[in-house]
Amino acid sequence: MKAAITGTGMSDIGRNTGRPAMLHLADAADRALARAGLTLADIDGICTYPGKADNSPGMSPLGTGEVRNALGLQTCWHAAVPDGPAQMAPIMVAAMAVMTGQARHVLCFRALTESSSQSAGRRASIPGAGRAEIGGWLSWLVPVGAMSAANWAGWMATRYFHEFGMTREHLGMVALGERQFAQMNPAAVMQKPLTMDDYLAARMISTPLGLFDCDIPIDGAAVVIVSAADAAQDCRMPPLRIEALGSALRSQETWDQRADLTTMGAHDAAIDLWSRTAFKPGDVDVLGLYDGFSIFVPLWLEALGFCGHGEAKDFIAEGQIGPGGRFPVNTGGGQMSGGRLHGFGLLHETCLQLWGDAGARQVAGAKTGVCAMGGGFIAGAMLLHRD
């Protein structure tokens, strides 16, 4: 594939920062451009997920228009992608844009102010809350009391536990591993040690998922620059070649009708990913797997073929995904300990690893990374390689 990631940057994310989303975005853009060795004048495309949206508080305060205005961008191509292969959609369409000559360097961004917005409005991440009526796939969930994605992920986890004997301790190992990574990442929002006792004692959210099975709303922004292969050669960092993308979806747009709810759209997207490359799971050095809820991590591990269906609990218990593991997952602390940038933070961290820029948590010699976003029917996966 003739597209590469040439720069990434993240703002100083935090809880209740009180800073405007645009300042977070501008900081993330500055950092991504500095890493890429580019200036704003080099950016000729812009893309985001989902675009400006108010479907839950602070979920997407910025669209491409405002960011173009604020940064004074003159672009050849722009798009927002609310409806695609998860939060990865803008990276994917940006890759297609540079491959078809629509742009050479595309600034992809994700900005959130969920922490400040929720504190101010005293409302959690509830889609449609406060509206009289709701349509689409959410209308089969929210009106019947399944208001939060924690509920939807909860019944997926219940079924998985039932079929494969997973326990809360297995998911606790995912959360604890991410916290250990977070303690090696100064940018992660959660730095306190987390013990299994802490994990098990935390209040229940939606069985079997407790507080530490959920990711953390934050204020912040991340920018990922996608460049054409030839343009990438001029950048400061070695280009991270987009080796393959996976976007397939073979079930309905629902959270409850998929025949086997111990699988997700992830499983379709992952098959698609590996069908487009000669790389195998065993070639992967570092993983960024969507962890809006802890249960998504084992499901993505199985989807991507790092272990068989039903085997993730043993894979996790063997220490394969935590610090020192063969397949380290979410080395920046993930969204559960790092903060929720809707997948962009996971991609940023994967790129840092492939550039050898991950500080105390660096995976030695990492050259190949997989990043996967989404849960339920929403899924997109990407394989990155540094030549």
């Binding site: 009106p143 019947v144 009391g145 939060s148 709810l261």
Partner: protein, 139 residues
């Protein structure tokens, strides 16, 4: 669990039968007139055979719990917790699940394989489904 800020489903030609069937205590599921596929969420075209002859009909209203979760978090200020939400395989409608809160038993008593029957509560223009355990019937 009633809440003035919990949104209700937007009624459409496709989904009105489902959301208003409770007025007659009927669980209305869309079926294809050509190939008899059960279609949920309801839509105007059969995804299996592309027939436009899709219409709702009442099913028995029973089913088996495929999965569930017990929600403990009050997502809205007036939400009473905990309560169970069950994802139920609907009898006589292959491949169709209906997700709804459980009433009539303690939230922690809900289990996979449990037999359920539909009930309804009116809210605005719609009747929201509820699952209630069928006594003494295990799958």
């Amino acid at each position: 669990m009633e809440s003035h800020v919990r949104p209700l489903p937007e009624l459409t030609p496709e989904n009105t039968a489902f959301w208003t069937g409770g007025a007659q205590s009927k669980l209305m599921i869309a079926f294809c007139g050509a190939c008899d596929k059960a279609i949920h969420p309801p839509q105007v075209i059969c995804p299996a055979c592309q027939s436009r002859d899709v219409s709702p009909r009442a099913v028995a209203g029973s089913g088996t719990v495929y999965s569930y979760t017990v929600n403990h978090q009050p997502w809205l200020p007036d939400m009473a917790v905990p309560f169970a939400i069950a994802v139920v395989d609907v009898d006589d409608a292959p491949g169709v699940r209906v997700t709804a809160p459980v009433t009539g038993c303690a939230p922690e008593a809900v289990m996979i394989g449990q037999r359920m029957h539909i009930a309804f509560e009116p809210s605005g223009e719609v009747w929201l489904p509820l699952w209630t355990p069928l006594e003494g019937a295990a799958a």
